[in-house]
Symmetry: C3
Subunit: 291 residues, 3 copies
């Protein structure tokens, strides 16, 4: 199986599929091709969310700022999964989510001959690399879509001559929020651990902006769900299950299907209204005001 | 075969596909993931249009108001087809379209453990339910994508322990329009039956609003096609084959690929301009005025 | 393999897939269903770009002005590939790109019974035609997705009774730009041939407008890449790798993934700002002004 992820829109991914089909009969499944343009951090966020649902597969993911992609291609093994992506960090968070532990993650680079050429790298570099790896795994497993185990995947990749071990691949990290609780203990971690007192405040960070401008934070949904109001960086904001709970143009906090708190605007863009960008810190303070 | 339908956009459906692929090798085909958000009626309309084209399959369709889905999952057998969907009515119109007759439609519920949790039900409830059913059918037919007949499907579902017969699933109905003809006879039915005189008026209903704001009625296209003008709730409106036949911002009536008359606006939203919502009644009166 | 291309949006292509699956188990791959509406020229451009990446396949492509499609269906063999499309020219440029030479392109028509009926031709004419051809090829190759060679494909099509040789299918042509170089020689061709002096001017043509309003010309990207400025029909315009290099609303020239120069507007429509439409001529003059 090969999954495909990009910010290419259509019909570019079809060119990649044509190329792949010349190398292998493996099934191809689209993850998304409308990811926020040129935003490896958003791609990393979504792949970390989606890829762990898949059985072992080769994942080809191309999101990079600029037209074309002027970086080496990175091949990352995470357990029995393989991610093929530009060396801009997007592969590492999903790789960690896919692997049993850090020692089960290995990276290689595939040199791109002429990064600044007018080549379409998704088609000419990333798709063929993913396809050649999948074809090699097909051979190991004796069938397209077979699933060799992590050791067999590691051996297969180690035997590919154009892969060079990557000593220091670019990385992206998504920090955990800090949850402050009533008894005064300030706990690191995801808010599940530590004191069981009432939550006083959560210091989080913006993980990604989706293409509608919704601001996805690293604050777990359970910390806001069920409340009526929360202060976001000091501003009182309604918490709601649906956008329609507030008037068009009004701000709200929701919990997305990914399980995190989002800062949104009904019929508008949350990133503008809340003035938040990926990587910004954001403070949530529960509020029980009744207006 | 499993078809997938939702209002999730991307990349959520990919998570559902990963989950399904852990249970079965059955082919997965997307129907749509950009259906009008939270509108089971629109989903029912489109599924009634599309699903009858498929050979027997398991159809997983998740459209529900609100974030997450706080209803039981419904499993509906319609002949040799199976629909897995929230119990909000969206499954019933396509089920009736797929079944030979009403007696060939059966429904069960699958209890959702904690409807209000932060779980992503598409991934955690509906996809695994569809996949487990498909895997059971794979076993009956001896192959992924095999097509057991209706009796075998019924037996397979009856043998699944977590399915409880549903006595009264939520339903959505799409009424037929009333066509008034020249000889004064007022006929029920779809306008094909009854008097063969000239059509004087058609009392229809709005079936769905698509995501462009086009108002899809239950008035058969043949009743307006070929005319130049029609009165919609009294207002004279041009009938045209293409949006471009009228100026941007202008109203028109077209016939969509689904075969029904639509109330549209070129470069605008028909639902606003015609002030029509799903379920509203709408009266079409042919007019031969020359302006 | 069957590829599917249209301007239908969703969920109409799913109806086509259901129909196809009743005829053949061949793999179905989407090229795009969001092509510019009713624009066969844009479809021809994109298919010429994408289809040559695929191994031999049946390509079903439906883009036509107007609601429904009121033309005969065209079946074009290009080497071992087959394109099924309306007879409006969209099939010919990709056919030439797929074939070794013009003699390897053959065309037939399939009569459409009642072009003006309310039938959805994508589902009722084009999909079944593509599926019947694929099913016939499946039989020749002994397996779904088998790849008979060009001769076997030609024989298979010649044996299909409802195909009539098409003497004069509608065609669309994409001209090459004219490149004027410093030594005074004016060369036809794609700018690769001829004098090696500096480029003075390129007289190109608009090949397509994409759905964002970006104006795709036939000017090879290498003729603008690396420059800071170029005059487009006399107006000085920055050349940039990314839209973000200019302020919102500002014009720029980029090189798209297809390798051609594009006239774009950051957060706007290039077709409006540059006043260019498909088929218009456009003159690029390199400029080394420093502002």
């Amino acid at each position: 199986m090969i999954t495909l992820t990009s910010d290419f829109g259509s019909p570019y991914p079809a060119a990649m599929k044509g190329v792949i089909r010349r190398h292998t009969d493996a099934e191809m499944i689209d993850v998304a091709h409308d990811l926020p343009r040129g935003d490896p951090r958003a791609a990393a966020f979504w792949l970390r969310f989606v890829l762990p649902e898949f059985p072992p597969a080769v994942h080809c993911a191309v999101v990079d700022p600029g037209v074309g992609t002027d970086r080496d291609a990175l091949v990352v093994r995470a357990g029995a999964h393989v991610i093929v992506a530009p060396d801009n960090g997007l592969a590492m968070p999903p790789a960690r989510a896919l692997a049993a532990d850090e020692s089960d993650v290995e990276a290689w680079t595939v040199a791109v001959d002429d990064p600044a050429s007018e080549t379409f790298h998704g088609r000419d570099v990333f798709a063929p690399t993913a396809a050649r790896i999948r074809a090699a795994l097909d051979e190991v497993s004796g069938a397209p879509n077979g699933a060799p185990d992590a050791d067999a995947v590691a051996e297969t990749l180690a035997a590919m001559e154009d892969l060079t071990p990557a000593s220091d691949p670019v990385d992206i990290s998504f920090p955990e929020p800090t949850v402050e609780r009533a008894e005064g203990s300030e706990e690191g971690g995801d808010g599940e651990e530590g004191g069981d007192g009432e939550v006083i405040a959560v210091d989080g960070e913006v993980l990604a902006i989706d293409r509608f401008g919704n601001v996805i934070t690293n604050v777990p949904g359970e910390l806001v769900r069920g409340r009526d109001w929360v202060r976001v960086d000091g501003d009182l904001t309604p918490v709601a299950e649906t956008f329609g709970a507030v008037d068009p143009g009004e701000r709200l906090v929701t919990v997305g299907s990914h399980g995190y708190a989002e800062c949104d605007v009904n019929d508008g863009r949350g990133d503008g209204a809340f003035d938040l960008r990926p990587g910004d810190s954001v403070r949530f303070v529960p509020d029980s005001v009744s207006l």
